[in-house]
Amino acid sequence: MSRIVFLEERCKGCRLCMEACPAQIIRPAGRFNRQGYEVMETEGRCTGCASCALMCPDTAIRVFRDKSGGKTA
């Protein structure tokens, strides 16, 4: 499965990634970073489409695409 990584200290909690995700797997994590912003987490199957990262104004997301056709894990 593909996956994304949030660089939580860069996140400003704007939630634009949440709306940009076609798979709708991003949600607020209920945790806050040192700046006091609520960070995000994923729950569900990521396709590695990178929409969330393209939308993030703070370059807080990295995307890893699974090239094995989703057969591993």
Partner: protein, 270 residues
């Protein structure tokens, strides 16, 4: 700040490929922009294009006044600060004195379309071989949300508390259409930063603009409709909706001038 190199999660696992990473020309330092502000998206797109075209080494940014006044801190390129609308005039001098460089301005709507309208329009009309990135967020963001020349009719700002009125305060200035009507302009396009689809198109427009400069075709201009959630008093998601529902109907997206084919043909004839 998280140290990316020591973060286990940032190592690709078996069968994995890193398909989105930060581009080298975008400085790693966190920005001072508000949550959901689109300046960050615009910075990233410009940086990606400079890196993809291999221009970062010879790129010179001419920064402006407004929330992006500190943009020189966020691009890993040489920069000159030229506040109060004079960026296109300063860029003219730099590009003429150092013709091997790639020179671009990054200006808000207060800076470019009000304070420095004359400098901008005349540099464009002279066909200066520079690229202007114009951030239209319909307000003076940095100073607290005063009316900009791009403010929509009826829009409430601190200086138009009853809403902008055509007779008295004028109508929203259409910079891409103005630039598109000038003979010195090689390329003018208006894009928006409110959706993934529009962001992809904006990057394409920036790539075209910089490649016009590389080919010496004249002035290139990209207007980006951008969100200012803070001064619009909207959350970032609603601010994005305002762009699609209220701004794009007034500021249509599209290409307003493109002389690439024409200039290629005149070369053939000459």
């Amino acid at each position: 700040m998280q140290d990316a190199t020591s973060d286990e999660r940032l190592r690709p696992g078996a069968g994995e490929e890193l398909v989105f990473d930060a581009t080298p020309t975008l400085a790693h330092k966190p920005t001072h922009y508000c949550p959901g502000c689109h300046h960050g998206i615009a910075h990233r797109l410009v940086s990606e294009v400079l890196d993809e075209l291999g221009l970062a080494e010879r790129a010179i940014l001419v920064a402006s006044v407004g929330c992006s006044a500190f943009s020189y801190d966020y691009f890993n390129v040489d920069a000159v600060e030229s506040p109060h609308g004079r960026a296109c005039a300063v860029a003219t001098g730099i590009r003429r004195a150092r013709p091997e460089s790639i020179v671009f301005t990054y200006q808000g709507d207060g800076d470019m379309a009000a304070i420095g309208l004359a400098e901008s329009v005349h540099a464009a009309n002279r066909g200066e071989n520079i690229t202007a990135v114009f951030i239209n967020n319909t307000v003076y963001g940095m100073t607290g949300g005063q009316m900009a020349p791009t403010t929509l009719l009826g829009q409430k700002t601190t200086t138009t508390p009853l809403g902008r009125h055509l007779l008295g305060e004028g109508g929203p200035i259409h910079m891409s259409e103005i630039m598109g009507g000038l003979a010195g302009v090689a390329y003018a396009e208006r894009c928006a930063l409110d959706s993934v689809k529009h962001i992809r198109q904006a990057k394409k427009a920036l790539r075209t603009a910089f490649s016009c400069q590389m080919q010496g075709l004249g002035f290139s201009f990209v207007e980006l409709l951008a969100g200012c959630p803070t001064n619009w008093h909207l959350d970032p998601l609603k601010a994005n909706r305002r762009i699609s529902e209220e701004m794009i109907p007034v500021f249509p997206l599209g290409v307003f001038r493109d002389v690439r084919e024409e200039r290629k043909q005149s070369e053939v004839q000459a």
